[in-house]
Amino acid sequence: MRPLEERQPTLAVYKFASCDGCQLSLLDCEDELLAVAGAIQIANFPEASREVLPGPYDVVLVEGSITTPHDEERIHDIRRAAGVLITIGACATAGGIQALRNWKDVDDFVNIVYANPQYIETLETSTPISDHVDVDLELRGCPIDKGQLVEVIAAYLQGRKPTIPTYSVCVECKRRGTPCVMVKGTPCLGPVTQAGCNGLCPAYDRGCFGCFGPMESPNTAALADQWHALGIPANRISEAFRSFNAWSGAFREESDRWEERSPV
């Protein structure tokens, strides 16, 4: 390929096990989409275009988790043809809610949903992309924040580091002026969850349920104890950590700790 100074950089978008919501975030940039398409060539984005230009690609966005033998192979081909590989969303960065299979026997799951299990090819686990290939940057969220997506693409085009917060949702609530819902007795994962949603749920009078996964160095044990003091049974505390980012380190460990306790 010609050097970047002499041509438009190229963008590719790939999907693995997921709901499509994170790549939709790109099409949801209604005010920016045509400008983005002017600055970076959309070379391979099947949801948006029939045209597929040959790789390698300068920027590759990957949505979804690895759940099949075929996808386990495919991600390596994608990595080889990628300049910068960015994973987008809880499925790609943590395995997604489909990682709940990781605690169960997947054959049981196949049997519950499908009449002819022999047609279904699936792995025992749902795992993040970073378990399989090197990832240059992870964008958290279920779904991702489209502002963060535009920031990452803009930062790449400008040759700078993107500004993505790693502090907790609590900081966003304080900045937004939202009264703490835990103080009113509503269990909230905000103190251990990475920012990115702009403190959304507490602003709607409900507790955070962890869309952006664990913040940097979360104290999940202290928060879980506080939930228990509010009267939340152990099994429900375990389930709270087991949603869209269930398989990410700190949430996984805390969920296991409470699963082992008696249900009350």
């Binding site: 709901c19 099409l27 948006a48 799951f109 959304l200």
Partner: protein, 430 residues
Amino acid sequence: MSEVRRVEVDYLARVEGEGSMKVMVRDGVVEEVEFGIFEPPRFYEAFMVGRQFTEAPDITARICGICPIAYQMSSVHAMEDACGVTVDGQLRELRRLIYCGEWIESHGLHIYLLHAPDFLGYESAVHMAADHRELVEQGLQLKKVGNDIVTLVGGREIHPINVKVGGFYKLPAKSDLDALAGKLEWAREAALNTVEVVAGFDYPDVEIDYEFVSVCHPDEYPFSEGNIVSNKGIDIPASGFNDVFTEEHVERSNALQSRVKERGAYHVGPMARYALNYEKLTDSAKKAAANVGLGEVVLNPFKSIIVRAVEMVYACDEALRIIDAYEPGGPASVPVEPKAAVGHGATEAPRGMLYHRYEIADDGSIVTAQIAPPTAQNQLIIENDLRVVLEDNLDLPDDDLSWRLEQSIRNYDPCISCATHFLKLEIDRG
């Protein structure tokens, strides 16, 4: 020696999720037509077992990033059905409003970004924008108005957080809704223009005798309440779904295929809703349809794009009506106490009827879950259409034939991520 012609598309573009197409023609006779779904299964019905009934709207939203409201609405209605609770008054109206937002957003996405490029001969809307910039801008802004409604009522456009069993976590302020009115007035004009623009496209001459199925309400164009009705005699409450329909698992698909037990393939989506509920459209939506010569029943699947545009007009009218009448006050939700029971919910996702069934226990935990997404229900009819379109177009060269067949699949706005529990295109002319 026989002459075999294959057309295969391994990865369908401009659809949501992973699907394929494969057809084979031997000596001018169509031998094989396959709409495949290779989207990896995620096992929602299995891992929801044991979770709390209150979690269903947040969890099932994640089945689909394009139509999370449909999943939230079918699940809350099913749970409320199980628990013997009816949500009425302004909470019901707000649910209709947020569904209007999803229809405008999803129809806007499909008409302008996914489907119109087929009719105008472009690979994508971005390519189309080079020659039709104002049209693409109009589509993006229409889509944005839909997303603005979902964001205002639901908190954010993808996987909204404000919908709960029993109602909402927090009610929007009157002033916030009023701020939408101006945008919706613009959107209604843009939707009326959309009807005219898409009606001007060239359409293949084809009509198919469908069994249309949709939710029907006596007084309203359907979103979330009413019987499941067809033009061939079905008229049942949602609880009767499994008596009339069956879901089968076939090798080429990770989605279960639905059929009417007695007859086979059926058609859900905008054309079905329109045919079965035409008289409940607003006057301006009816007039927009009449102005472009659209009858009260549309049987040409390629004209689904015009019906979508008419439904956008309706959704703008309905949203404006709700906003105008909205008076905040009262609780944001009604209490819902769990009890051991079975509940059903059938609502109209932008791409067709979405059925949920849950069995819950006394403590509110989910015992069994069943989800029948619209694209899974449409799989068979999509293959039937492919066969008809293929037979009508055998004289086309492979590239043009493939594009026409892909367009035929996109008539259904398939959402493959949803359907899997879903799609792969190969054309084999054998």
